[in-house]
């Protein structure tokens, strides 16, 4: 995992977990507080309502007691009763619908509405006749949507019950009072009787027409229990309800509040907590990203620098701080440039070594090529040599065979044959000598005897050798030698070979009627010997090769002279041993001049 991701993750862990715990605890506490306050409010509303009912009922009871004990009621004077009780009816504005007085038989003896009848079977009559103030159950009145109850109290004269004072009380007044009690916007108050029938609801049409004994609060309150609970109410809504049993009137008071609305605050709190947590986490992440970037950016640039260095295109990385990472970057830059310097040096060295190798390789290839060429020339040479050696052999053999089979041959013919045999033996001997000379020279085994020599002597010896041939081929030989010629240091025999070979070549390539000039010049500390012919000359490109061991200018024409093309090689080798070299000047058709210089002997 990258450092940056690790840092971000770490920040998230150390921030989000406590944050979440704190948020959750705050939310829980808040929720409890809200719930408690809601309940308190609910209980308060219940108590207020209960108190209002009690107050109202107490006022009615007090009224009844006061009226029951009044002199007018005890006297039962109808005229006075009307006057007296009508003031109550009027004064309480509809609270009291009717006051009536019953005798001990239950017959109505007075009514503010002048009603007649008997109520001997009614419970309020029997209870009041027993000397108690009695409040009847609620019942519907003759006015639609309106309910009422009867309060009855015994009328006593000197401690003896003389009649019953009763009043029909409209509950409308009480309802209004209850309705004015604040039970919250969504609060709902209703009162049920012992049977579960509604005796108060703001929707009056439900009063005494509907039983709602199918929910928790109603069931509990009918068992005369008090409490607070969450349940599903008659409308099917989830509510928080407070219920309270009023034993004096056998009423169950219930105040309900819709749970969702009751706990609106909790939801709001929850949302607030989530929002706050969310922004806090965003903030932490942002902070973590910023911090980790600040931390990892220099590390990243170090990494990139290292990668670049490996690839070979290093650039110094920027040092952005003076902390440990900054120091590291500085050291990295330093090390990298040193490395690059060393690398450059190494590369240069390798290049140099490569260059050297290439050069040597080329030299080797050249040498190899040279060797190959030499090898080819050598095989050709051997092939030629074997041919040249076999040709005279063949001639000798044929001649000998001829002589062998001819017992009485013509003496002239026999002589001719023997001459051919001798000539070919000479030719072969010459050739073998040449080959041996060359191989000796190649091996460095040719023996030289240097002594003081007169060049003129040597030239004369050569003329003697080639004179016959010159005559035969009608070639003029002329000499250009100064009268006084100093002695030179040389091997006499070998120099004769040199000049013989050069002359041989000159004869070979000079047509009949041509001329050969042998000249010697005094150059001060040395002499120059040259042989010039009027032959066919040599091509410029062949000129460089004529001293090569196996080179033949024309491989088929040498036979007439009897050489095998080794003459120049041998001559050149001999002159080299004399510390000089043969120089040649020639152009095709213009003849050739071979020359060499030799050191004079010490006087």
């Amino acid at each position: 995992m990258r450092i940056r991701s690790e840092i971000i993750l770490f920040f998230l862990l150390i921030s989000v977990i406590p944050l979440s715990i704190v948020a959750y605890i705050s939310y829980d506490n808040g929720k409890e507080a809200i719930r408690a306050s809601v309940m308190e409010k609910l209980l308060g509303a219940t108590e207020n309502t209960g108190n209002a009912i009690d107050n109202w009922m107490a006022a009615r009871k007090d009224d009844m007691r006061v009226i029951s004990q009044s002199r007018i009621v005890v006297s039962k004077d109808k005229k006075q009763l009307h006057e007296y009780l009508d003031t109550f009816v009027r004064g309480y504005r509809g609270v009291y619908r009717e006051f009536f007085i019953l005798d001990l038989n239950g017959s109505i003896i007075f009514s503010t509405l002048d009603r007649e009848g008997n109520a001997g079977n009614e419970r309020y009559f029997t209870e009041a006749a027993n000397g108690k103030l009695y409040v009847s159950d609620v019942s519907l009145s003759e006015i639609p949507g309106s309910s009422e109850m009867i309060i009855a109290n015994p009328v006593k004269n000197n401690g003896t019950i003389t009649g019953i004072m009763a009043a029909r009380v409209s509950l409308e007044n009480l309802y209004r009072i209850i309705e004015n009690i604040d039970v919250g916007k969504s609060g709902e108050v209703f009162i049920v009787n012992k049977d579960g029938n509604i005796i108060f609801h703001k929707n009056r049409s439900m009063i005494l027409l509907r039983s709602i004994d199918d929910n928790h609060a109603v069931r509990e309150v009918r068992y005369e229990k008090n409490g607070i609970a969450e349940y599903i109410n008659y409308k099917g809504e989830k509510v928080l309800g407070s219920y309270y049993w009023l034993p004096l009137y056998r009423w169950g008071l219930i105040v309900e509040e819709n749970i969702d609305e009751a706990y609106t605050g909790v939801v709001t709190l929850g949302r607030l907590m989530v929002t706050v947590s969310f922004f806090a986490i965003i903030g932490v992440v942002f902070l973590a990203v910023v911090i980790s970037r600040r931390l990892t950016e220099p590390i990243k640039s170090l990494e990139n620098g290292a990668i670049d260095l490996v690839k070979g295109n290093f650039r110094p990385i920027p040092v952005t701080s003076s902390n440990e990472i900054g120091r590291l970057a500085e050291i990295f830059n330093q090390t990298a440039s040193e490395l690059l310097f060393i690398r450059k040096k190494l590369e240069d060295r390798i290049q140099l070594a490569n260059h050297d190798l290439e050069k040597k390789n080329r030299e080797l290839i050249d040498a190899n090529e040279g060797l190959k060429k030499l090898d080819v020339m050598k095989s050709e040479f051997i092939s030629l040599i074997s041919h040249e050696l076999k040709t005279p052999l063949s001639t000798i053999k044929v001649s000998a065979e001829y002589l062998e089979t001819d017992d009485n041959a013509d003496p002239v013919e026999r002589k001719e044959m023997l001459r051919v045999i001798i000539k070919n033996i000479d030719r072969q001997t010459r050739m073998i000598n040449d080959i041996l000379d060359l191989s000796k020279m190649e091996a460095g085994k040719m023996e030289f005897q240097f002594e003081n020599v007169d060049m003129r002597e040597i030239v004369n010896a050569v003329i003697e050798n080639i004179g016959q041939l010159a005559l035969k081929k009608k070639i003029t030989i002329s000499l250009d030698i100064p009268d006084s010629l100093p002695q030179i240091i040389a091997d006499k025999e070998k120099l004769i070979i040199v000049l013989n070979n050069l002359a041989g070549n000159a004869f070979k390539f000079t047509p009949e009627g041509g001329s050969i000039l042998i000249s010697v010049k005094d150059l001060g500390d040395s002499i120059e010997v040259s042989m010039k012919d009027t032959g066919i000359g040599i091509d410029k490109e062949k000129l460089e090769k004529i001293f090569d061991k196996f080179y033949q200018v024309d491989s088929t024409s040498r036979r007439k002279i009897g050489g095998c093309g080794l003459g120049l090689s041998i001559a050149s080798g001999i002159i080299r041993t004399h510390g000089s070299q043969i120089h040649v000047e020639s152009k095709p058709g213009g003849g050739s001049t071979f020359s060499f210089r030799l050191k004079k002997a010490e006087p």
Binding site: S383, T391, T395, V398, M417, T556
Partner: protein, 174 residues
């Protein structure tokens, strides 16, 4: 000079001799327009039934003993010292066998053989190559060009004679 021309000259010599059996050679030379010695050679040829062998070699020394040996075997031997000369002689004499040396200055043996093989009137002539080189490659090259046999130097004279006889047998069979 082609064969028809040669035959024409021969025919004319024959006509002259038929008319006058004592006609001298120099007279015929004047009539036909060729040298007197050639007239004599042609007259000699009329009665010469020997097989003709042409030896081609630039080395006079090797040619001579071979010539003498073959003449003793009763062959008519014609000699040529270069490729050019060989072509002329072959054309003039129509030899039965040509002994051809490969190593010659100027036109070498292969070239000569190549040209001889193209001559229509030499299609019955057997060519035996003589050389001191005995590479297999050289032999194959020679036989490829159309040489009929190949003998390496130094050869045994009896063997060469036997080979010439075989070659002549082949000529007659053709």
């Amino acid at each position: 000079m082609n064969r028809d021309a040669i035959d024409d000259i021969d025919d004319r010599i024959l006509q002259l001799i038929t008319k006058d059996s004592n006609i001298p050679n120099n007279e015929m030379s004047g009539i036909i327009g060729i040298p007197e010695n050639e007239i004599a050679a042609r007259i000699r040829n009329f009665s010469d039934t020997r097989s003709i062998i042409l030896i081609v070699d630039d080395d006079m020394d090797s040619l001579l003993p071979l010539k003498r040996s073959l003449e003793r075997e009763n062959y008519k031997v014609v000699e040529a010292y270069s490729g050019q000369e060989a072509l002329q002689k072959a054309s003039a004499e129509t030899p039965d066998v040509i002994l051809l040396d490969l190593m010659m200055p100027g036109m070498d043996g292969y070239e000569v053989c190549n040209r001889l093989k193209k001559e229509m009137n030499l299609k019955n002539t057997q060519i035996i190559m003589l050389t001191a080189r005995d590479d297999v490659g050289d032999k194959i090259r020679g036989l490829d060009i159309g040489a009929d046999d190949y003998v390496t130097k130094p050869f045994n004279l009896s063997e060469l004679k036997a080979r010439i006889k075989t070659a002549l047998r082949r000529t007659r069979n053709l």
